[in-house]
């Protein structure tokens, strides 16, 4: 078994008096695709935000590439550079063209020259069928296109790990397909990913490992096959029955 | 047009003395003579910012005129009238306004003036030891930064006579002009001569009167009382002023309050 790329150990997160994550343990190996499933409010987004250090955890540790990133001495910006995240709502920068959205981080954070960054961005756009949208502003794109750009933007920084938080939940069913297509491609490109998703059939298709979150607790973890056909925890069973 | 009806100070008054008895006058408040002036009222024109004291040149003049018209001291009421409201059109809150207002033909189109009660000259004040403290003539003030208060004829005098090379600084209030002199933001002030004496004596240490404008500079400038356009009271007041001039009372008042304002050197 290879060393894990990400290790989450006993992570707690409270908002006010409410514990949203209650001691989460999780490991993600290189090239592994992990799907987080669970009801609304179970803490999926919060967990992803903690991994990306957008939230400060209240207990536990997170290791990336073997180094603890929850140590107060760690440079958060450096850590974030190695992780890409795409949110539930797409959060493109509305005042920038698609190309500028994608090249901002490579140019300003990774200090890549403009020409090179744009070339790379155009390659990515072409690969994902958006070559003609480079100069468009986000509000001229359909929801599905916006979400694809958001994924490309995260990819452009060549992260070690991608976090995708319900990237299809704000989309019309017709647009969902194109976004799921891009995720499939990422998997083929051996990207390590954690996905929070409500699309059970998709999770089943794409996940190496599925984790079921319930009220901030990681109730069950297993292969997609095992979780969907033979859930062991009664709550997993209830949940799957209610959504399938 | 109403502007053509009267020509200011020189307007002939047909009023006989009989019409000038106090119960026949049309007044803002019946039975009382209401006199306007600005607040604060400066020395040496008024004393202690209290026009009703009878102290100070203009206060004394006002009471002397009132006396001639037959008013007792307690029948004179004072009201606060800002300089630039004195010439607002429409009903006035005073019978006449006394506020060191110089008579000019332009102004006389908007208000009526009484005959002059004081022939004023403008004077230059500078700080002792300053560049212009010892100027001998107006020409040498050409390059000075000069301060002046808005609404006074001093500004016109500067423009007409000194023709300075840079714009003068114009202040809302006398205090601002004086502070500018203290701060060395201006090198000289132009004010009327009595004020100049007061400034040098009481307000700016180490200041001196450089000199007064000569007769040709601001020839015949006189202060007049300000009336609502067309106010028939002007005639009666003019009679009173004539009488005060004739019997020497006006000269006495001037000597009492402005006595020192004589011997400043004239600047040519």
């Amino acid at each position: 078994m290879t060393d894990p790329l990400l290790r989450v150990e006993g992570v707690w997160k409270h908002y006010h008096r409410h514990s949203v994550l209650r001691g989460i343990d999780l490991e993600v190996r290189p090239h592994e695709v992990v799907c987080l499933i669970g009801a609304s409010g179970s803490g999926k987004s919060t967990l992803l935000r903690c991994v990306n250090m957008l939230e400060t955890i209240d207990d536990g540790s997170i290791f990336l590439d073997g180094r603890e990133i929850t140590d107060p001495d760690v440079d958060e910006d450096e850590v974030r550079r190695r992780i890409g995240i795409v949110f539930q709502a797409f959060n493109l920068f509305p005042h920038m063209t698609v190309l500028d959205n994608i090249t901002l981080a490579p140019r300003k954070v990774h200090k890549v020259g403009r020409a090179q960054a744009e070339e790379h961005a155009r390659d990515l756009l072409a690969r994902f069928g958006l070559a003609d949208k480079a100069g468009a502003y986000p509000d001229r794109l359909s929801g599905g296109q916006q979400q694809r750009v958001a994924i490309i933007r995260a990819l452009a920084t060549q992260p070690r790990l991608m976090l995708l938080d319900e990237v299809t939940s704000a989309l019309d069913p017709a647009l969902v397909k194109e976004v799921l297509g891009i995720v499939r491609e990422l998997k083929e490109g051996e990207m390590t990913m954690i996905l929070a998703t409500h699309e059970m059939s998709f999770a089943r298709e794409i996940a190496d490992t599925v984790c079921f979150l319930d009220g901030g607790v990681l109730r069950e973890r297993g292969t997609a096959e095992q979780i969907f056909t033979d859930p062991r925890d009664p709550r997993t069973r209830d949940f799957l029955r209610s959504v399938l | 047009a109403p502007a053509a009806e009267t020509t200011g100070a020189s307007s002939p008054s047909p009023a006989s003395s009989a019409a000038c008895t106090k119960d026949q006058l049309k007044l803002v408040t019946a039975g009382k003579l209401t006199v306007g002036t600005d607040k604060p009222a400066y020395e040496p024109w008024f004393k202690g910012d209290d026009p009703s004291s009878g102290q100070g040149f203009e206060s004394a003049v006002a009471y002397a005129v009132a006396g001639e018209l037959g008013f007792q001291r307690d029948e004179v009421a004072w009201s606060v009238v800002k300089f630039d409201t004195a010439f607002a059109p429409g009903a006035k809150q005073f019978d006449f306004d006394v506020n060191q207002v110089s008579i000019t033909p332009d102004r006389a189109k908007a208000v009526d003036f009484s005959k002059g009660y004081y022939a004023v000259k403008q004077a230059v004040v500078a700080v002792e030891g300053g560049k212009y403290a010892d100027a001998k003539d107006l020409a040498s003030l050409k390059d000075a930064k000069i301060g002046v208060q808005v609404g006074t004829t001093a500004l016109q005098a500067i423009k007409d006579v000194i023709k300075p090379s840079q714009d003068p600084n114009v202040y809302n209030e006398q205090i601002d002009a004086i502070n500018a002199l203290k701060n060395k933001q201006v090198e000289a002030l132009v004010v009327d001569l009595p004020t100049a004496f007061f400034v040098t004596a009481a307000q700016v240490e180490n200041s001196k009167i450089v000199g007064q404008f000569n007769a040709t500079g601001t020839a015949g400038e006189e202060f007049g009382l300000v009336f609502q356009k067309g106010n028939p009271l002007v005639g009666c007041v003019n009679q009173a002023i004539d009488k005060l001039k004739a019997n020497g009372d006006l000269a006495k008042i001037e000597k009492e309050w402005l006595g020192s304002a004589a011997g400043a050197p004239e600047l040519s």
Binding site: D25, D59, G60, D71 | K39, P40, A91, N179, Q203
Partner: protein
């Protein structure tokens, strides 16, 4: 890491949380670090302020400035009169403000009528806003204060404070109309559709749906305008009434000392700070609502 039996984990995790030693250490580190940089920042700010203060007080002109601007005796002497004048400012403010809101709201509503038949009304509203936003308030006060009574019309007030209130209303009404208009336009059109689709008329939609939301959104800029208004009540001095600034001016001119202006400044600050804090509070509240 081995996967635990689900049941065991359940017991382990859903129990009450006990802070781990590691977390305790981590928080201590953070606190220490925050304290260090906090003290540094405080120290540097204090040094900066002290330097400025020292620079000012050590200047050659300082004794004179202190005497002219910060004279305690003049302060005390001017206070009663300036305070007295300040009551007039407050009175003018309190009367003008509701009138301004009314004028502003009416004009904004006229401007937001989209139908072409309202074009002339709308043109009138636009002309009003353009003119009165363009002319310095002090000029409006001059024109109303001296011009209106001069017309000698029946029923036109001659009281100076009333004239000042009219002038301020005209001048600020134009500003406030713009603020309201922005608010009305910021309410998403779908809200109007929703209201109309329920059968509400244009007027009812405005009254029950659009305006209540618009007004809430424009409270901060409105309060900003209120602050300006509080200060601009001082301009009414131009036409004569003895309000705070004029009283200060009288004292200053009388004593040749600027300290009375300081008195007026302090009074104005005392009035506006609570308003500023209130604006802040509203802004923060609305931000919370948005769920940051």
């Amino acid at each position: 890491m081995k996967d635990l039996d689900p049941a065991t984990r359940d017991n382990e995790r859903t129990g009450a949380w006990v802070k781990s030693e590691q977390q305790v250490r981590r928080e201590a580190t953070r606190r220490k670090r925050a304290l260090r940089s906090g003290s540094l920042a405080t120290a540097s700010t204090v040094v900066f302020l002290v330097l400025i203060l020292w620079g000012v007080t050590a200047s050659p002109g300082w004794p004179r400035v202190q005497e002219t601007f910060f004279n305690p005796e003049a302060f005390v002497r001017a206070l009663p009169d300036v305070l007295d004048g300040f009551l007039l400012n407050i009175k003018i403010f309190l009367i003008a403000e509701p009138l301004i809101l009314l004028v502003g709201l009416l004009v904004a509503m006229v401007r937001s009528l989209k139908s072409p038949i309202f074009f002339p009304l709308r043109a009138l509203a636009i002309a009003y806003v353009d003119i009165f936003r363009g002319v310095p308030t002090i000029l409006v006060i001059y024109l109303v204060g001296f011009g209106l009574p001069a017309l000698e019309l029946q029923g036109v007030p001659t009281d100076l404070a009333t004239l000042g209130i009219i002038a301020l209303t005209l001048s600020y009404g134009a500003y406030v109309a713009e603020v309201f208009r922005a608010g009305i336009e910021s309410v998403h059109p779908s809200q109007r559709s929703a209201a109309r689709s329920l059968g509400l008329t244009h007027g009812q939609s405005m009254r029950y749906v659009v305006l209540p939301q618009a007004v809430r959104r424009v409270v901060p800029p409105l309060l900003n305008d209120f602050v300006s208004l509080q200060k601009d009540t001082a301009l009414v001095a131009t036409i004569g009434p003895l309000e705070a600034l004029r009283q200060a001016q009288i004292h200053a001119s009388g004593t040749f000392n600027y300290t009375p202006y300081l008195v007026a400044a302090l009074l104005f600050i005392l009035l506006t700070i609570p308003m500023a804090r209130f604006t802040d509070y509203l802004a923060i509240r609305s931000q919370r609502r948005r769920g940051q």
